[in-house]
């Protein structure tokens, strides 16, 4: 991935995430973590290379085909990015818009047949009582759970999470990470998560990938990822 201003943000990153696996990416600010996720989701266009999701190359698709291919991947952002003035339940149900394209939903209606499933998802992420509340009344941790429920409503194969716990207190952060791991293990999703907390990465992920200046520095099972590897990512900056 090269930015129009000539800065090379990602250089030959080759990464595979299997179903049922939680992979975290660590790296300092500007190492290319977020760019990598945004390239995979095609919020930015990679200048070279492939993004294969379920065998389809997202980097080559455009328009309607891209929209269809995106159904297989869901994203959770640092800020929950909920529609603040709508109810929690409406926010979750809007995750299904991609496969419920009717005249009704085109003009702002919610797919009624998805509401029971949306309630079930809220229960799964542990906020079933908040369904009727407006999204802007939630705490950070609650909002992030709802955002995860919305991502799940899409029934994706791959979940991308961009610093999902960066704006949460430590306790809420642990709970969100536990939830993400549970999705990988119990629902067989592939989860790719960008983190700033090495400790959380070591504890919850199956694999840890270190990124530095757009290059993969290491790609290790979490059990083998020790503090000295992590120190490699941040060394220069500390000195």
């Amino acid at each position: 991935m090269r930015y129009p201003n000539g800065k090379l943000a990602l250089d030959g990153v080759d990464l595979t995430v299997r179903a049922g696996e939680l992979v975290t990416i660590l790296g300092s600010n500007g190492s290319g973590k977020t760019t990598l996720l945004r390239c995979i989701a095609r919020l930015q266009n990679p200048s070279e290379g492939q993004v294969l999701v379920g065998g389809e190359d997202l980097a080559r698709l455009n328009g309607e085909a891209l929209r269809r291919a995106r159904l297989a991947l869901a994203m959770v952002f640092q800020r929950a990015n909920l529609v603040r003035r709508r109810s929690v339940l409406a926010n979750v149900a809007s995750g299904t818009l991609g496969r419920r394209r009717t005249l009704w939903t085109t003009f702002g209606g919610l797919p009624a047949e998805e509401l029971p499933a949306a309630r079930e998802l809220l229960r799964k992420v542990g906020v079933e009582r908040l369904g009727a509340q407006r999204a802007d009344t939630l705490s950070g941790g609650q909002a992030q759970r709802v955002a995860i429920a919305r991502a799940l409503a899409q029934s994706p194969k791959l979940v991308l999470a961009d610093e999902p716990v960066a704006s949460l207190d430590p306790e809420a952060a642990e709970e969100i990470m536990r939830l993400l791991r549970q999705l990988a293990v119990e629902n067989g999703l592939a989860v790719l998560c960008v983190l700033h907390q090495p400790a959380l990465a070591q504890r919850y992920s199956h694999r840890v990938v270190g990124l530095r200046d757009g290059l993969v520095v290491f790609d290790l099972p979490a059990a083998f990822c020790a503090d000295q590897e992590i120190a490699l990512l941040y060394k220069d900056l500390a000195a």
């Binding site: 919020l43 995106r70 990015n81 818009l97 919305r150």
Partner: protein, 283 residues
């Protein structure tokens, strides 16, 4: 007279800065420059205000000699012609309806225009410039001038006034709406785009809930402004209370004039309070 005015403007300048210098010498150089700049700004502002007095030919004396003329008019305007209330009910309704028509059509036209004129959601660059041009044109021409144009085009009566308000509102609302859309939180839009939703779905499910309350508030405020404008539009023959006011003035019916002014006051206050109340509800 003009020489006098010019002398008055310029004279204090050397005097003031000379008086400042001894004190400033004790201060640091930076402090001195700042004081000098401040002094110049104050002088310039005084000069600007002074020339405005001269140009508008302000003669405070005339206010005093004119008092008995005003008292005479007020005396002749009392008591208000309460008997005419039934007569002015229709023009009052016309005034309110002018504002309603102008606001509703202004909003209806301004929303699609604002979508095109918001840099972040505009469908195409040429449309962006076209929409911006329409907004600039309809905004720059005052509603009174629009009313004059429409009176010429469609004749006397409330309709040209309603059109004038609608057209001017398009520009005023279009710009504010576009700004609201540009300042919108883009997170939810990105999030819904990634769920594979269509462009129109993203618009109705993320953009609309995000901006609707602000748009409603701006629209209500516009109604308030349009009501006040519609009172004046009658002066150029575009119907409503203004037209009755002009007629009554020309016929020296000052008691009717005072009644009309009371009606105007009530309408404006009601619109202001009502729109503020509703705006609080949607905020």
């Amino acid at each position: 007279m003009s020489v006098d005015g010019a002398a008055l403007d310029v004279a204090p300048r050397p005097a003031r800065s000379a008086a400042q210098e001894p004190g400033a010498a004790a201060l640091s150089k930076v402090g001195f420059t700042r004081r000098l700049v401040r002094g110049v700004v104050v002088l310039a502002a005084t000069a600007i205000v002074a020339q405005s007095f001269y140009v508008v030919q302000a003669r405070p004396g005339d206010l005093i000699t004119g008092v008995h003329g005003m008292v005479d008019i007020i005396r002749r305007a009392m008591p208000p012609a309460w008997g005419d209330i039934a007569d002015i009910a229709w023009p009052a309704l016309e005034t309110v309806d002018l504002a309603i028509f102008g606001t509703v059509f202004g909003v209806l036209m301004a929303v699609p225009l604002a979508v095109m004129a918001a840099a972040n959601v505009t469908p195409a660059r040429p449309l962006y410039y076209l929409a911006r041009a329409i907004i600039a044109l309809t905004r720059a021409v005052p509603d009174l001038v629009w009313a004059l144009l429409f009176v010429t085009a469609v004749g006397l009566g409330p309709f040209p006034g309603a059109l004038a308000l609608a057209v001017h509102s398009i520009g005023m609302l279009g710009r504010l709406f576009a700004e609201v859309i540009e300042d919108m939180d883009f997170g939810p839009v990105e999030a819904l785009t990634l769920t594979g939703a269509s462009r129109l779905q993203v618009f109705t499910h993320a953009v609309v809930p995000g901006v609707a309350p602000s748009l409603l508030g701006i629209g209500l405020y516009r109604f308030d402004e349009n009501l006040r404008s519609s009172l004046v539009l009658g002066f150029v023959g575009a119907g409503g209370i203004g037209f009755r006011l002009l007629t009554a003035m020309n016929l020296f019916q000052y008691q009717t004039v005072s009644l009309l002014l009371i009606a105007t006051f009530i309408l404006v206050m009601a619109a202001e309070r009502g729109s503020a109340l509703l705006r609080r509800q949607v905020a």
